[in-house]
Symmetry: C2
Subunit: 765 residues, 2 copies
C-alpha cells in the first residue's frame, strides 16, 4: 500500500500539465561565464532593453558580475560576443552635488524577474526599479530622506537624475570594434522633460555609418534646477548642449533635499526623432503606472511561453526550459515603425546577431512556437533585401554586417517556406537568395557571400581567392542546397539542377589522404592551382583574414555537410568508422565545442549512421555538463538565443536539420512536451518513463502506429501528431526505417514520400 502511495506520488508531477509562465524565467541565467545574457526587462523581441551598465564599460549586455553600476542605459543586446553594441542614453540617480563623471555606485540587493529589475545603489542609498514596454523604459527611483542642514554644504541632500548621452559600451575596445559616440545633443525642455539624441559608429559590426538614437524622458516630479555638462564640466542652468566625437555631454535634473522621495521617470526611445520618442513614451505607458506596465510584460511573456507545455517536469526543468524559450525571444528586435532608412508597410526588425548563429536552432524554434513572429522576421529580411539589395547575415545599428561565412539567411527563408509561413513574397525572397549565390560583393564581411569567382569556376574556394576558405566552402555548399530546395519548390528545374550540383562542391575540399588520430579524410584547404595547403593540420583554425577555418578546426567542419550526411559517412569510411570518428570528436579535447554553432548539429549525426542511441548519449552528456540553472547556466555566449534554442530543442527530444524538412529524434528530458501550433493543433512527444537512466529509446509510435525512423517531417508536426517514446536504460536499434534524408543517397526529393508543396506564390498579406 505504501508502495502504491509512493508510486502515486511519483506519478503526480507526470500528471500535472501546465504551460511555462513568466514567473518561471530567470533573466540572470547565463549572465556570467561569458553567456552575456541580458538581465533587464524586455518584452518579447522588444526594441528597448533597459538595464545596468558596468562602470568600466565591460560587459556586452551592460551588466557584469563585479563592476560598479555606472547607470542604466536603454538599449542592449542579449548573448553577444565580440565588441559590444549599444548602451545608449545612460541615466543615473544620484545624491549630493550633480556630477559630470565618476558617478558609478556599488550595488546591493540586485534581482530580476520577467519585466522587472531591481537594484540598490549603495553609494547613494537609492533603490532602482525598472520595467519597460516595447519602446519605453519606466524607472522608479527611491531616494532616501536627505537633509541639507546636517552637513551644511550647499549641495548636501540634493537628489539628481543624470542623463549621459555620451555614454556607450566598449568605447575603447580593441580589434577595431570600439563603439564611438560621434555626435550627441541634450536639451532640458522643462523641469520634468529632457530630450536628446546621439549617433554612434563601431561595435562588433564595425559600422562606419552612424545609427542615431533619440529619447524623450519625463519625470512625475518637477526638478528644482537643472543643467548640462560639456566634457566633464558642469554648466548649471544651461539647457542645451551639442557634443562632438567622443565628447562628454549630458544633463541633470536636481530635486531638493527633504523626506524620502520616489521619482518615476519614463524614457521613450526612437530611431526616428525626438518627437517619435515622445509619442512612444506617452502612448505606450499610461502616466507612470509601474505595476500596470510590469503586469503587461508578465502577460506578454505568459502568452509567448504558453505555446509549449511540459508535463512531469521538475521545478528546475520548468525554470530552465522557460528561460531558454524566453532568451530565444529577446532578439532580433522589432523596430517596426522605427526604421530611419526607408518607408515600408512591411515589418522591420533589427539586431540580427547573427543568422550564421541563429539559423541552426533559433529560426526553426520560432517557426514552431512563434510562427507569427518568425513571419514578421522573414518579411523584414526580404524587405531589407528589397531596399538595400542584400539579405543580411548580421545586422546591428540599422546597418548590415558582419557576415561570418556564407549566406545563411537562405536557411531561414527555406525554413519559413517549409513551415508554410504566410504572407512572404517568395519571388523576391528567391531573387535575394540567387543574388547571394551569384553576385560579387564589394565587401564580403558585410553582405553577400563574396569571393564567388573560384566557387563558380573551379568548384571550391581557394586560399588565394578568399579568407577562411575551408569553413566558407562547406557553408557555400549547404547554402546552394537551400537555393536548390527553393528552386525546386518554385518550379525552376534548371536552377534546381545547377544548385544541387553545386551543393556537392564540398567534396572538392575533401582531402582523402588527410589523417588525424587514425581517421582518414578531412575537409582541407587548397590553392587555386589545385594543390593542398601543406602540411595538413587538423587543428588549424583562424580568424577573419586567415586561410583555414573560422571558429573551429576541420574536425568540426568535416562534420558540417547537413545536406549530404550519407555521402560524408561514405567518404569517412562507412557507418562504423564514422561513429568512431564522432565518438572521438566528442571525447577528445579541442574537438567538439558546445559553445560554437558550427558543431550544433553534430551530436545528432549518429542518426544517419544507425546509432541513434549514441545521439542520446551525447545530447544527455552535453546537457548535463554544459547547461545549468543560475548565472553560470550557459556554457558561453547565448548568441542572441541560438544556444538557448539548442537547449530547448535538445530537451524536448528532437532537433532541426535547419533549412530542411527534417527533425531528428534525440532524447527527451521531460515525460511529456506539447507544442500548441498556430493551426490549432497540438504536437506531442510522450516519453513517460524518461529519466537520467532511461535516456534510450526502445520503441516509438506515431499516433499509435509503430515509427521506425529516427526523424520526422514538419508536416508530421503540423498535423498535430503524437510521438510516444518508450524509454529504456539500454540502447537498442529501434530505428530500422530509412535514415534521415541525404542529397546523394536519397536524392532530393526522390526518396522523399512527399513532394515539396506545389504552392502558388503567396501574395503579400
Amino acid at each position: 500500500m505504501l508502495q502504491r502511495i509512493v508510486l502515486l506520488l511519483l506519478l503526480l508531477p507526470v500528471l500535472a500539465a501546465s504551460a511555462q509562465t513568466a514567473r518561471d524565467v530567470d533573466p540572470f541565467l547565463g549572465t556570467e561565464n561569458s553567456g552575456n545574457a541580458f538581465p533587464g526587462p524586455s518584452l518579447p523581441f522588444a526594441m528597448v532593453k533597459p538595464g545596468p551598465d558596468d562602470g568600466n564599460n565591460r560587459g556586452n549586455s551592460g551588466w557584469t558580475e563585479t563592476g560598479d553600476i555606472n547607470g542604466f542605459s536603454q538599449l542592449h543586446t542579449h548573448g553577444m560576443g565580440g565588441g559590444a553594441k549599444y548602451g545608449d542614453i545612460l541615466i543615473q540617480p544620484t545624491t549630493g552635488a550633480p556630477q559630470a563623471s565618476s558617478f558609478s555606485s556599488p550595488r546591493a540587493d540586485e534581482r530580476a524577474s520577467v519585466g522587472i529589475y531591481h537594484v540598490a545603489l549603495t553609494r547613494y542609498g537609492i533603490g532602482v526599479d525598472i520595467t519597460s514596454s516595447r519602446r519605453t523604459a519606466l524607472y522608479r527611483f527611491t531616494y532616501p530622506r536627505s537633509d541639507q542642514s546636517t552637513s551644511g554644504a550647499p549641495n548636501a541632500g540634493l537628489r539628481n537624475i543624470l542623463f549621459d548621452v555620451a555614454h556607450i559600451l566598449d568605447p575603447v575596445q580593441d580589434y577595431g570594434e570600439a563603439q564611438i559616440v560621434v555626435r550627441s545633443s541634450i536639451h532640458v525642455l522643462s523641469p520634468t522633460e529632457v530630450v536628446g539624441q546621439h549617433s554612434v559608429i563601431g561595435g562588433w559590426n564595425k559600422q562606419i555609418t552612424p545609427y542615431t538614437v533619440y529619447f524623450y524622458a519625463i519625470t512625475d516630479t518637477a526638478a528644482a534646477s537643472s543643467g548640462t555638462w560639456h566634457e566633464k564640466e558642469l554648466a548649471p542652468g544651461s539647457a542645451e548642449f551639442i557634443g562632438g566625437i567622443a565628447q562628454g555631454s549630458g544633463a541633470y535634473l536636481t530635486f531638493p533635499a527633504g523626506g524620502p522621495l520616489t521619482i518615476s521617470l519614463k524614457i521613450g526611445i526612437s530611431f526616428i526623432s525626438e518627437a517619435q520618442a515622445k509619442q512612444n513614451a506617452m502612448t505606450e505607458i499610461r502616466g507612470f503606472d509601474f505595476e500596470g506596465t510590469h503586469a503587461a510584460a508578465l502577460a506578454a511573456w505568459d502568452k509567448a511561453l504558453s505555446t509549449v507545455t511540459l508535463q512531469g517536469e521538475s521545478n528546475e526543468d520548468r525554470d530552465t526550459f522557460a528561460t531558454a524559450i524566453y532568451q530565444s525571444m529577446l532578439m532580433p528586435v522589432d523596430r517596426t515603425g522605427e526604421n530611419p532608412l526607408w518607408h515600408s508597410t512591411e515589418p522591420y526588425y533589427g539586431d540580427y546577431f547573427t543568422i550564421w548563429d541563429t539559423f541552426r536552432t533559433s529560426s526553426p524554434l520560432l517557426d514552431l512556437i512563434a510562427p507569427a513572429r518568425e513571419t514578421q522576421i522573414v518579411r523584414s529580411l526580404v524587405d531589407i533585401y528589397r531596399h538595400e539589395g542584400w539579405l543580411p547575415d548580421g545586422r546591428l545599428g540599422n546597418v548590415t554586417g558582419r557576415s561570418q561565412g556564407g549566406s545563411d539567411a537562405d536557411f531561414v527563408l527555406v525554413d519559413a517556406w517549409l513551415h508554410h509561413l504566410p504572407g512572404i513574397d517568395w519571388t523576391t525572397a528567391y531573387q535575394a537568395m540567387l543574388k547571394d549565390a551569384e553576385a560579387p560583393t564589394p565587401d564580403p564581411t558585410r553582405e553577400g557571400r563574396g569571393d564567388l569567382g573560384d566557387w563558380h569556376k573551379i568548384g571550391y574556394l581557394t586560399i588565394e581567392g578568399t579568407d577562411r576558405p575551408g569553413s566558407k566552402d562547406v557553408e557555400y555548399a549547404a547554402n546552394d542546397f537551400e537555393v536548390a530546395l527553393l528552386a525546386k519548390s518554385l518550379h525552376h528545374p534548371a536552377e534546381y539542377a545547377r544548385y544541387l550540383k553545386r551543393a556537392g562542391n564540398w567534396e572538392n575540399l575533401w582531402d582523402s589522404h588527410a589523417t588525424d588520430e587514425g581517421f582518414t579524410g578531412f575537409i582541407w584547404v587548397r590553392h587555386r592551382d589545385g594543390s593542398w595547403k601543406q602540411p595538413f593540420n587538423a587543428y588549424a583554425r583562424c580568424s577573419w583574414g586567415g586561410d583555414t577555418f573560422y571558429e573551429g578546426n576541420t574536425w568540426t567542419y568535416s562534420l558540417f555537410v547537413p545536406q549530404d550526411v550519407a555521402r560524408l559517412i561514405q567518404l569517412s569510411g562507412g557507418d562504423r568508422t564514422f561513429v568512431r570518428r564522432l565518438d572521438a570528436f566528442f571525447s577528445e579535447p579541442n574537438h567538439f565545442d558546445v559553445n560554437n554553432e558550427p558543431g550544433f548539429l553534430s551530436p545528432y549525426l549518429y542518426n544517419w549512421a544507425g546509432r541513434q542511441d549514441r545521439t542520446a548519449d551525447q545530447v544527455r552528456d552535453i546537457l548535463a555538463h554544459s547547461f545549468h540553472t543560475g548565472r553560470k547556466g550557459l556554457p558561453g555566449n547565448d548568441d542572441s538565443g541560438a544556444m538557448s534554442s539548442w537547449y530547448a530543442f535538445s530537451r524536448m527530444g528532437f532537433f532541426p536539420n535547419a533549412g530542411q524538412d527534417v527533425f531528428l529524434i534525440g532524447t527527451p528530458a521531460y515525460p511529456k512536451v506539447s507544442i500548441h501550433l498556430a493551426n490549432g493543433k497540438t504536437f506531442t512527444i510522450d516519453a513517460p518513463g524518461v529519466s537520467a537512466a532511461n535516456k534510450y529509446i526502445a520503441r516509438a509510435e506515431w499516433d499509435g502506429k509503430p515509427w521506425t525512423r529516427n526523424w520526422f517531417r514538419i508536416e508530421d508536426v503540423e498535423r498535430g501528431g503524437r510521438l510516444v517514446l518508450t524509454m529504456s536504460p539500454k540502447p537498442s536499434r529501434w530505428d530500422t526505417g530509412v535514415p534521415p534524408p541525404s542529397m546523394s543517397s536519397s536524392p532530393f526529393p526522390r526518396n522523399d514520400p512527399r513532394q515539396l508543396p506545389n504552392r502558388k506564390r503567396s501574395r503579400r498579406s
Copy 2:
C-alpha cells in the same frame, strides 16, 4: 661724386623690376607661433600635401617645432586652427627590424623650399626628400650603408618602408574634434607595390560621414620581404589586412642590408579608388623623376607668382611678399576628378577653411591675381549647392561644415560677379544665396544661416533664437546686402528692396545707451521680448553655444558693418568720435585682434571718417609688429591664407571691402607694385618715395590725373590704371573726394558713378 654713386646704388633696387619667383618663398614662414603653416611641397591648390607628422600627433599641419617625426603623411591643411584634419597614409623609412609602432625619429638638417622638403631622420641615419605633383607625392629615401654582420642580429642592417594606414592627426583631441580612422585596409601587391585605403570621421568639422582616401605606392627597388601589422603585432609575410575603428594596421617592405641605398617611392592619392590612385601616380610623375617633378613644381609656382611684380623692394620684402602669395594659394584644394559624391563636369574643390575667414581677403586677392582659379572655385561652390542643396561655409573631408556665422559664400559669389569672372551659372548662384537667406536649416553649424525665424519676423537675432546672436546678427545684415547687390544686378527689384532693407537690420542690435571707455553705442544682444541682455558687457565673447559674440567682443563687432560705415559713424557720434573710437580700438589691449578675421577691415575704416592718414598709421603698425620673416612670421593662424592675403593687400597699399566694388587705399610698402591682369592689362601703384617714414600719402594721381578719393573700383583696376602716390612723412588731407560708398549715405547704387554691369546671365562655359 661719391654721394652720387651712393645715391645711384640706393636707387638701383628701385629700378629693378621683377616678378616674385618660387625661389623667394619660405614654406616655413608661419610654421611656429600657432601659424600652422604647412612646410611641405605642394603645387598651387594641390590636393596632395606630403609632409612630416609629429610623433605626438600635435600640429595641425602635421609639423611641429619640437616633436620627433612619426613619418610622412600625404594630406595636410595650411593655417588651420581648432581640431586638425588629415594626416592620412603615413609612410616612414626605418632601419633594423620592421616595427608596428614607436618608429618616430628625431630630426636634423630640416629645410624646405618651394616643391621640396628635406630632413634627416637621425635615429636611422636616413635622408628624406619629398616633392609632389597634384595628386602624387614622390619620396627619395637615402639609407646609410648597413651591415648585418656588424651586430650579428638577424634584423641588423635591414632597411624598411612602413605604411601606417591607421595614422591620423589629433586622434584624441578634446572638444569633440578628434579624428578617428573608422576603417583601414592595406594590401602588399608585389615587392614594389602597396595599395590601401582608410576612412576617417571627426576633426574640426566633426564630420560623422567618413571620407575615404585611397593610395597606390610603388618603389623603384623590389623589397626582399614584406608583411602587415594588426593592432601592434607584426604579421610577417601577410599581404593583406582590414582594420576597424581606431585599430592599428599597416604594412612594410623590407630591403636587405648592404651598401648605401637610395629608394624612390611615389604614392598616388585618390578619393575615388585604388585604381584611380594608381593612375594618378603613373600619369602625373614619369618613373621616379625627382628633379623633373621638382622643376615642374618650381615652374608652376613661378607662373602663379608672376602676376604681381614688385619694384624697389628689399630681398626681405620680396621673400615675405612671395611667401604671402604662395600661402594664399595652398587652399582650397583642387579635387576635380576626385569627387566621390557625384558626377559633374564642373570643377570640384575641397578644404574650404573657412569662407568666414577667407571671404575678406583671400577671395578678393584671387579674383585679382588668379581669376581663372577663383572662377573654378566659385563654379565648384555653385556645383556643391546644385548637388547638396547648400553652399558651404567650411568644407573638409568632402563634407560641408562647420559654418561659423552667416552665409559668407555670398561675398565670394558677389565678388566673382564684380570681377567679371566668366562661366558661372548666376541663376543657380543667386538661388543658392536666396536659400541661405530664407530657408531653415536642420543644422546651422553645418549649412545655411539657421535660426532665421527671428531675423525674418522681428529683424534681429535673439538670445532665445540662436547661439552667438550678436556676431551672427551683424553678419546676416552684411550677407543680406550681398543678396541685394546681386538681386539688383540680376534685375530683381523687389528682392533688391527687400534685402537692402534687411541689410539695415544690424541697427536693431545697436544699443545706443551702451557705454564703455567713454564711448557710447555698441552692438549688443537682446531677448525676443525686446529687452537687452543685462548688464551690458563690452568684453563679453563666447564660443559655439554662447549668447554673445564669436571670436571677438563688441568692440570688434561694433565696427563690422561693411555695407554702411557712414551710418555706423553717425550712430557712433560722428567722424571725430568714431576716429577716437578707432584709435582706442587699436591702442587698448583686448580690443583689436590682428589674428582674427572679423577685425580685418577695421584699420581701413578711417578712410570713411576723413582720416586716411590714420589708416596708414594702423596698417604700418600692424605690419611692423605682427608680421615678420621666418617661422614666427605670422601673428597666428593663417586660416588657409586669409592672414597672408591680408598681408599681401596691406603691403601692396590697398584693401578690398569684400563683396563690394571698392578697394580702399592704405599705404604701400613697395615703391612699385604691378598686377598683370588676365585681360592683358597691368594695374600699377607707384609710390616712389615710400619708406618707413614716408608712409603718408600727400597726393594721388590716376593715369596722370589728380585722384582725390581714398578708394577705387574694380573696373578702375581692370582698365589697367596707374595710381601714383606721392608719399610724405607728414599726414595730410589729400583725399577730399567722396568717401567710400555706404548703403545709407550714398544709397547703392545712386551715388555710384557706375551702375553694376547690366549683363546678361552668363552661360555655362
